[in-house]
């Protein structure tokens, strides 16, 4: 489902003396359907960067990333947009929403983007919000004022409301209590059994071991010079 081959990436900071920061060289790995793969490595090793590259949020210098056979490296923005609507979901650590939009609508949005009927999208959204224990009285409010844990659960609901064949999860359980963490792990298990390909970053080794089939250590992709 997700194939990463010979991937290379560096950052150039033009305003700090054009410093070149190499990140990856020869990154190779793949994720099959029904599989959950954890990215590991020390802080700063590039776990989130790699995930963002797969989502098309960061550009790649060289190599290939194929998501459901679509090449992401050098892809036209429209192809990336299309892929994001229908194929690949991303739960980031940050919630970015238009202020004033209700939580139900924020979560329903990925469904509306693929042309789902608003009434059905809302139902699905409410279903996930109650599963993730977001109190009903908050549904009509904007999530911008929510606590960190609540915002994260809204983000997760957004990621799972549509059945993306491929899913990227950046620290989905970081600020959750054990009850909600188990709900999220249950969602991941269910997605796996439905044949979704999942890449996750999990801080907590016990959580990682619980849902992940394999581990990919991203520090091995670090260029020699930097390492």
């Amino acid at each position: 489902m997700i194939d990463v081959k010979h991937l290379a990436k560096h950052f150039v900071l033009y305003h700090q003396g054009a410093t070149v920061i190499p990140v990856f060289q020869e990154a190779n790995f793949s994720v099959a359907k029904g599989e959950c793969v954890a990215l590991t490595g020390a802080s700063g090793a590039g776990k989130s960067t790699l995930m963002r590259m797969i989502y098309g949020n960061y550009l790649c210098k060289a190599g290939s990333i194929k998501v459901n056979h679509v090449e992401m490296v050098g892809a036209h923005p429209h192809d990336v947009m299309q892929l994001r609507r229908t194929t690949i979901g991303y739960v980031s650590q940050f919630l970015r929403v238009v202020p004033r939009v209700s939580t139900v609508d924020v979560v329903a949005e990925p469904l509306l983007a693929v042309g789902e009927k608003p009434i059905h999208a809302q139902e699905k959204s409410q279903e996930l919000l109650s599963l993730l224990n977001i109190p009903k009285r908050l549904w009509s409010l904007s999530p911008t004022t929510f606590s960190g844990g609540e915002q994260q659960r809204v983000n997760i609901a957004r990621g799972f409301v549509y059945d993306y064949p491929a899913l990227l999860l950046d620290e989905p359980t970081a600020s959750l209590d054990s009850q909600n963490r188990d709900v999220v792990l249950g969602l991941i298990e269910r997605a796996k059994s439905n044949g979704k390909a999942i890449i996750g970053i999990f801080h907590d080794p016990s959580v990682r071991d619980q849902v992940c089939d394999r581990v990919v250590d991203v520090s091995q992709f670090m260029p020699e010079a930097a390492a």
Binding site: L13, N57, Y58, M81, R100
Partner: protein, 256 residues
């Protein structure tokens, strides 16, 4: 999918000074393109050239009309251009006073485009006007008030209603949230996003506010000194800027 609007090598000079130079872009149906850059970067010049309010010196602009024909908008006759600008196109000005008739009631402002394309039934015009005022969250009892009695945010929403009432397919917006309070901006952003999604609108939004484009635009074009220095997916350009100028622009934003 074929583009709704294609621009080739568009150049506008002000004497020896560059307005915008060799701009190429495609806009697809239901897509929002943001154009960012600081004052004087040529983004408004570009927008005005695209919308037919300025005549570029060089280049070509192709627009796919409702009937599916691709037309070169720069060589259209004046009546054809006018027809386009009051049916398929809309222009939202930064200052609502530039886009509204201040001495005409809110209902008259919304109704004008309808009457311009041949509506001759007062009752229907009024019903449509009330419907549109409602969509932009202006209550029906303000329909006979003049925009002079409206707040800045209301005026801007009225301008949007006036522009969208004929169901255009392409909207040009010049700093639509500029000059508004932050809370009013948020309301307007929400409104614009819903309208874009519900009506399948395509839009080109010129702004210097990166937060606005992050929330509204699918794609982004960064302009500096009349040139397009970088373009791509909005979040990619903002999160992984490749050009030195874009990096400066992104890193200069104050984090709230």
């Amino acid at each position: 999918m074929t583009p709704l609007l294609s621009v080739y090598n568009l150049t506008k000079m002000y004497g020896h000074r560059v307005g915008c130079q060799d701009i190429n872009l495609d806009l697809y149906p239901s897509e929002v393109l943001g154009i960012v850059g600081e004052s004087g970067s040529g983004k408004s010049t570009l927008l005005n050239c695209l919308a037919g309010q300025l005549t570029p010196d060089r280049g070509r602009i192709q627009f796919k009309t409702r009937s599916g024909d691709v037309k070169d908008t720069l060589t259209l006759s004046e009546p054809e251009q006018l027809m386009l600008s009051r049916t398929d196109w809309a222009f939202v000005h930064q200052n609502p006073r530039d886009g509204l008739r201040m001495s005409v009631s809110a209902g008259g402002n919304v109704g004008e485009r309808l009457m311009a394309v041949g509506s001759r039934h007062y009752g229907h015009i009024r019903t449509t006007a009330i419907d549109w005022l409602d969509r932009v969250e202006i209550t029906a009892d303000r329909i006979d008030d003049r925009p002079t009695s409206f707040s800045g945010g209301m005026q801007q929403r009225l301008q949007i209603a006036r522009n969208l009432v004929t169901g255009p397919r392409l909207v040009f917006m010049d700093e639509p949230t500029g000059g508004l309070d932050v809370s009013v901006q948020a309301r307007l952003l929400d409104l614009l996003r819903n309208l874009v999604r519900d009506m399948g609108l395509s839009a080109i939004i010129v702004t210097h506010d990166l937060a606005v484009v992050r929330l509204l635009a699918d794609r982004l074009m960064v302009m500096k000194e009349g040139q397009a220095v970088e373009s791509g997916l909005t979040d990619q350009v903002l999160d992984d800027p490749q050009h030195a100028y874009t990096q400066l622009l992104v890193s200069s934003v104050l984090q709230a």
